[in-house]
Subunit: 222 residues, 3 copies
């Protein structure tokens, strides 16, 4: 989604983005293969939608059409590969290993897309608050489509530490770009890795420790 010609030096963003695409594609396809009775095309389709949905939403909102998905074949190729991998090797995994794998992949995709989403928004000239929000949207968008299409309650609305780590990761990217007075190209690998690592650690901490944010105050039960 980051065009190498237009944004020189954005190879880092591209690599992080493609790793995120792979993580979400395997996540979506694995979810599909276990929770719904889908054929192979359905499994691969849901993998691709999960992997590319967040980035497509972001690109539509910043007016980058056709989205990178369509102008850059690598996104589609990586996403489809993730779906095919699940069809071929997914059956070998036991139920517990699937659950663990899904958690880690989802956290990885969340972290990477929060960073690349915020970076892409900055590179497109959007302001800091907008970039943080678009980082969050890129991170949670694909998973939300996956949940809607498989009839599940969207994770972003119910799952403890999910949107918050993504927004924090995106905020680190934006902050580092502000501090170093450069656009996203200047964030360098250090800050991007710090931001993604922070998001990932926070998300995993939330899962392992079962940390839930407090709900809104409830009316007294009579």
């Amino acid at each position: 989604m980051v065009d190498d010609e237009r944004v020189p030096g954005s190879t880092l963003l591209l690599v992080l983005d493609l790793v995120g695409v792979l993580a979400f594609a395997v996540d979506g396809a694995l979810t599909a293969s276990r929770t719904a009775r889908l054929d192979v095309i359905g499994v691969i389709t849901l993998g691709v939608i999960t992997a590319l949905g967040g980035g497509i939403m972001r690109d539509l909102l910043i007016g980058r059409v056709p989205p990178a998905t369509f102008s850059d074949w690598r996104y589609l190729a990586v996403a489809a590969t993730g779906g095919v991998l699940v069809c071929v090797f997914g059956h070998r995994m036991g139920r517990r290993r699937v659950a663990r794998t899904l958690t880690v992949l989802d956290a990885a995709g969340l972290s990477l897309f929060a960073v690349t989403g915020a970076g892409t928004a900055l590179a497109a000239g959007l302001g800091p608050v907008q970039a943080i929000l678009l980082g969050g949207l890129t991170a949670v968008g694909g998973g939300t489509l996956r949940d809607l299409l498989t009839g599940r309650s969207p994770q972003v609305l119910s799952s403890g530490l999910y949107a918050v780590p993504a927004l924090l990761g995106a905020a680190v990217v934006v902050l580092s770009a502000q501090v170093t007075h450069t656009d996203v190209v200047g964030i360098g690998s250090v800050w991007a890795v710090v931001a993604a690592g922070l998001c990932f650690a926070l998300r995993m901490l939330g899962v392992v420790r079962r940390i839930d944010l407090p709900g809104p105050r409830q009316p007294p039960v009579p």
Copy 2:
């Protein structure tokens, strides 16, 4: 969503729009806090989506990207405020009062967005029929996203007088602009208030009197 620089004199549209955003944000957050087990971030997120969803859909369709949500911080600030208000004060409301409040807020947001949606479409140069439809879409879009994300049947498809008042309100705006031979700036506060009031009154009448439009004719039960 109406940029003051680009469309001088559109202060009225902006004010109506922001009041609609607040109404839908409280509506969405209150719905979220009662029908689903969401944490505070989930409640605020659903409030923001309900408040801004319709306007984002409209802006995407008329090619105004990034949507006003992103270029004008006031929309986000007002929407988030609505969500926070619900988290802080929402628990004090009894069940019946919540139901009544939701009905009124939803009707208010519907009416205001029908007017501002149609006005924005006219200001963007779209034709009268298109402006009426985009007014309707702006009015029902956010609530439909809210219903989809919380797993409920979309109100616009099932609830008696819901889309019809919105389309009528939008039609009044378009008609007034046609009659006075001006674009939306010229509709003036009188027509905007008349249009919103008509939509609101019709919607509330439908709720109070439980008016349902007739369904399609059903096949005879053997």
Copy 3:
């Protein structure tokens, strides 16, 4: 959706598109009138969404805004007509006849939109792979919205031969354009009909013979 002024000679695409719109509008409205308790406005609305949803998604992704739906009144008129037809005549159909009609209409809309979607994408200057995918998206997009809004599992994810025929039909269009070294205008009626016929035949074959693609390999049940 294809503007006659901009793309001379695209009358064929327009006609195929409008027939597809009518098929999907009747399909969506008929589904709505039988599976959910909707009033007439709800039935017509769902018909219109089913008919126009896929084309709107495609137009957003290729940056054609406002989408043809809004710039060309014929799309809306045909879609609304389909919904009205169902409200007036739908009750006369027995249950079995409804099921058969839905299957044929859905297959017809799928085939026509796969062809016109791919053709539109080619005419907009997109590459061959992108055109095939956008043909598929145009074909399955409206039906997926219909399923989401009525709370059903999306057909594209679960129903045997559904996405595959659409992608094949789109591929024939793209291939013919490549072979004849022309853009979509040159595909001529022969290739368009061949592509749509292939998609339709394959889809109907899948329904009649109950052909399901194999699912992903499942873990052994202990």
